[in-house]
């Protein structure tokens, strides 16, 4: 079943040079925290070798919405884009030896095992640094490579809670909810990881020395919480859940239109509220005697939200937005994914790419972010089948002969 109008066919098919052409990344992580950094590097030209266990592969192959292919969920297909799969069992000594040879010929290693696991296999930072002093290694874990909690298992959900983000999500006094999508912390940690890698590659180009990038998911999430630490440090202010609104501005939240659809309105300044009052054809609301000042609106927050809510509820979303935008009020659709597929702007920007996956069909995936003018990233293919590049990589790159590959396969080392 196809629910949506087809987005334009893969607009990123292009042959423009990419900034990471010639960079080889070995991604031995599972799920998203770290592997998404590899995906970003791959979009911009790096060759990404996804090293997986020969039998099971990355568990993300089985996590999420199933497809006709037993080794690939939609999540796997989309987020393992551009990668090649190479199977190597790191629990066997001979597998580790092959892996080390791969590292000799690589620029970046990405892993997200529980801290200590790579060390058990003889693949800790000191080991891999000795194998290849130019190697940049990204390690992502829930709590980082150091500190008392380093050995705890840390998934994004737990790390976001630990970082203080989940505490802030939901209505005051009620159950905290998830901040929209579960693996947000995995993405944020990966973005920091990719930045760390690019900074480290730059340093390496000048000095010849690789280094270790140590990202804790909780730390990546905590870093984006603006003044929360400073305000507690100075005034003891403990920020609480704000529901759909904001403690510093009003009206600043989510409102339901007459057709049942939601929209966001964000009046951060008095001027914006004045414009909203005009859009509502109730300019007197923005007078100094009423709600012209932020201070007064915050004090009468419920009343102001109710006035705006009633105005919004009296017309369809499109009508509300048209009026808001005509008066330059910051407002926008609160989109479901169905809304997004229908949206002219998403279409015009090519945010949805339709990419063919063998044995599955066309899959619509989010396009490349960020958008570069001269060297845009691109999606060349979706998540590979397990071990699709094992022979090519081990044969061509490491020079293993066919009978050697057969023997390794027989012993399930690859």
């Amino acid at each position: 079943m196809r629910a949506a109008a087809p987005p334009p066919a893969a607009p990123s098919a292009s042959t423009a040079p990419r900034p990471l052409d010639g960079v080889r990344v070995v991604d031995v992580g599972n799920f998203l925290a770290g592997p998404y950094a590899a995906a970003v590097l791959g979009e911009f030209g790096a060759e990404v070798l996804k090293v997986e266990h020969p039998i099971a592969g990355d568990p993300m192959r089985r996590y999420g919405t199933a497809t006709p292919r037993p080794d690939a969920t939609l999540k796997w297909l989309s987020e393992s884009r551009n990668k090649k799969s190479v199977t190597i069992d790191l629990r066997q000594g001979e597998g580790v030896a092959i892996f080390r040879r791969l590292l000799e010929r690589s620029d970046v290693l990405i892993e997200n095992f529980r801290p200590g696991t790579m060390e058990e296999w003889g693949l800790g930072w000191k080991d891999v640094h000795a194998v290849n002093p130019r190697l940049v290694m990204l390690r992502v874990s829930g709590y980082g490579q150091t500190g008392p909690y380093r050995r705890r298992s840390g998934f994004a959900h737990i790390a976001q809670a630990f970082a203080g983000l989940n505490y802030l999500c939901g209505f005051p006094g009620e159950t905290p909810v998830l901040p929209g999508t579960v693996p947000l912390g995995d993405y944020i940690a990966s973005l920091y990881g990719a930045i760390g890698i690019l900074v480290a590659l730059r340093h390496r180009e000048r000095t010849g020395r690789g280094q270790l990038v140590d990202v804790a998911i909780y730390e990546a999430v905590f870093r984006v919480l603006e003044e929360i630490a400073a305000a507690y440090g100075l005034h003891g202010t403990v920020r609480e859940r704000e529901g759909a609104g904001s403690f510093v501005a009003c009206p600043h939240g989510h409102f339901r239109a007459g057709d049942g659809k939601w929209l966001a309105i964000a009046c951060t300044t008095d001027k914006m509220f004045e414009r909203l009052a005009e859009a509502m054809e109730q300019p007197h609301l923005a007078s100094s005697g009423l709600y012209g000042e932020q201070r007064r609106r915050l004090a009468a927050r419920d009343t102001v939200n109710q006035l705006v809510g009633e105005w919004v509820a009296a017309r369809p979303r499109e009508g509300v937005l048209a009026r808001c935008l005509a008066h330059e009020v910051p407002a926008g659709e609160l989109n479901s994914i169905a809304d997004i597929f229908d949206d002219a702007h998403f279409q015009a920007r090519g945010n949805l790419e339709r990419v063919h996956a063998p044995d599955v069909g066309d899959v619509v995936v989010p396009g490349v972010v960020p958008r570069l003018s001269a060297t845009p990233g691109r999606v060349t293919h979706l998540g590979p089948t397990l071990g699709d590049a094992t022979d090519a990589v081990l044969g061509t790159l490491l020079g293993l002969a066919d009978d050697e590959l057969a023997r390794l396969r027989h012993h399930r080392i690859i």
Binding site: R152, A161, A163, Y167, V177, I188, L234, A331, G361, R371
Partner: protein
């Protein structure tokens, strides 16, 4: 508080972005945060601000005794403030001369604003072909909504995560922080700038990065789009759980009124939880051992976990979960964080004294942590125009008289 360390001094090794000059003419958080990250790793960041009032971030949030807000002090770290009125022809001329000597320009004006001033991409590229320019707006430089005003809250809504945050059928809520899209766009922007610098160093060719707040959010919605595209599945709000794929997976209240997160993505992890609860039998194949059984009876499973959590303090629940390696953790508020050993051990909080007022500003330390060339906080957000004269003198070679005249005419 006394336990919070001062910033670690910069590493002996030259920071990786030493020698890179960034002009940050943007406001609030999104594009400026890109410049912040570059500054932590050694770039010289010139914050170009309007002479009257400067960046609105100076007034966004809790004020310090100096007047500038805490977010400004923390996030404008390491920057030098230079005032310049781009609405004045002489200001634009000085700006062009600055751009000649700059590697990276970060801006987030409404689309068309720089063009109106004759400072669009084509013009700036002509001045400096090696320039990398980050342009951040709510909707990007192209497309039908490009001229709409864009704020992070609106980007969360348009990008699809606000719709997913909240209780089922309840009002969608803010996804934890109203500035999430700003930070994420700053991260994508920094990524784009670093990629573009790499290309430039190889070829001499600059380029621009076109970042949209809503796109940074939408990119992180994992299989939301593929699942709708293939099966027409419209994901809805799931409260604190993630009922699509895993159970139990959510937030549970403990006896002492605090909250924990528990996340059992696999059967193995649920078996560990069952053991932690002292009810190993729950993970047998005939009860809730399999994910699909748990998902089918999610309400019952959650109730068992909720009852167990409610009978113990948070510390007790977590101690038992950690003993069996069940993925669980506290839902920390900021007070918890200040008392947490891991935050201290990792030095995630650093205390910087604000000399003028005697206030101690606690900031999040730079992320990510690099072993050889870690980022650093060398100073907090500058006062408005604090470095105008030195930059005009040292970088643009203006004499004292010229600088005084520019001040008198409020060009700087």
């Amino acid at each position: 508080m006394s336990a919070i360390p001062s910033p670690t001094p910069p590493a002996a090794a030259a920071l990786p972005l030493a020698g890179i000059r960034v002009v940050d003419v943007a406001t609030v958080i999104a594009a400026p945060y890109c410049a912040t990250v570059l500054g932590e790793f050694g770039a010289d960041v010139l914050k170009v601000e309007h002479p009257l009032g400067g960046d609105a971030l100076r007034r966004f949030g809790t004020p310090s005794a100096r007047g500038d807000t805490l977010t400004w002090l923390s996030e404008a770290r390491n920057k030098r403030s230079v005032t310049l009125d781009l609405r004045h022809p002489d200001g634009r001329h000085l700006f062009e001369r600055l751009v000649e000597q700059t590697d990276v320009l970060c801006e987030n004006f409404r689309t068309g604003t720089l063009e109106k001033w004759g400072l669009g991409w084509e013009r700036l590229r002509a001045i400096n072909p090696r320039l990398v320019m980050l342009r951040v707006t709510g909707y990007g430089q192209t497309g039908p909504y490009r001229d709409r005003p864009g704020f992070a809250r609106v980007a969360h809504a348009v990008g699809g995560i606000a719709y997913l945050a909240g209780m089922p059928k309840g009002t969608p809520v803010t996804p934890g922080s109203t500035t999430l899209a700003d930070y994420m766009t700053g991260l994508y922007g920094a990524l784009g700038v670093l990629l573009a610098l790499r290309h430039r160093d190889a070829t001499g060719e600059g380029q621009y990065v076109d970042a949209a707040l809503y796109e940074s959010i939408f990119r992180c919605t994992e299989e939301l789009a593929p699942a709708y595209g293939m099966y027409g599945t419209v994901r809805e709000r799931h409260g604190s759980s993630h009922n699509d794929f895993a159970c139990p997976h959510g937030h549970f209240a403990t006896r002492d009124g605090k909250w924990v997160a528990i996340s059992c993505a696999t059967d193995k992890l649920f078996a560990r939880l069952a053991q932690a609860m002292g009810r190993a039998e729950l993970a047998s194949s005939s009860t809730y051992g399999e994910q699909k059984t748990r998902l089918a009876h999610c309400h019952d499973v959650n109730e068992i976990v909720r009852d167990w959590c409610g009978s113990l303090t948070r510390q007790e629940v977590l101690a038992r979960c950690y003993a069996t390696a069940t993925p669980a953790g506290p839902l920390n508020d900021i007070a918890d964080i200040f008392g947490d050993r891991q935050f201290h051990a990792r030095r995630n909080l650093v205390a910087v004294d604000l000399a003028e007022t005697g206030e101690t500003i606690v900031c999040p330390a730079p992320v990510p942590l690099l072993s050889e060339t870690p980022g650093s906080i060398r100073s907090l957000g500058p006062k408005l125009g604090e470095h105008t004269d030195e930059v005009l003198r040292d970088l643009l070679g203006l004499g004292d008289d010229e600088i005084a005249a520019l001040h008198a005419r409020r060009v700087v």
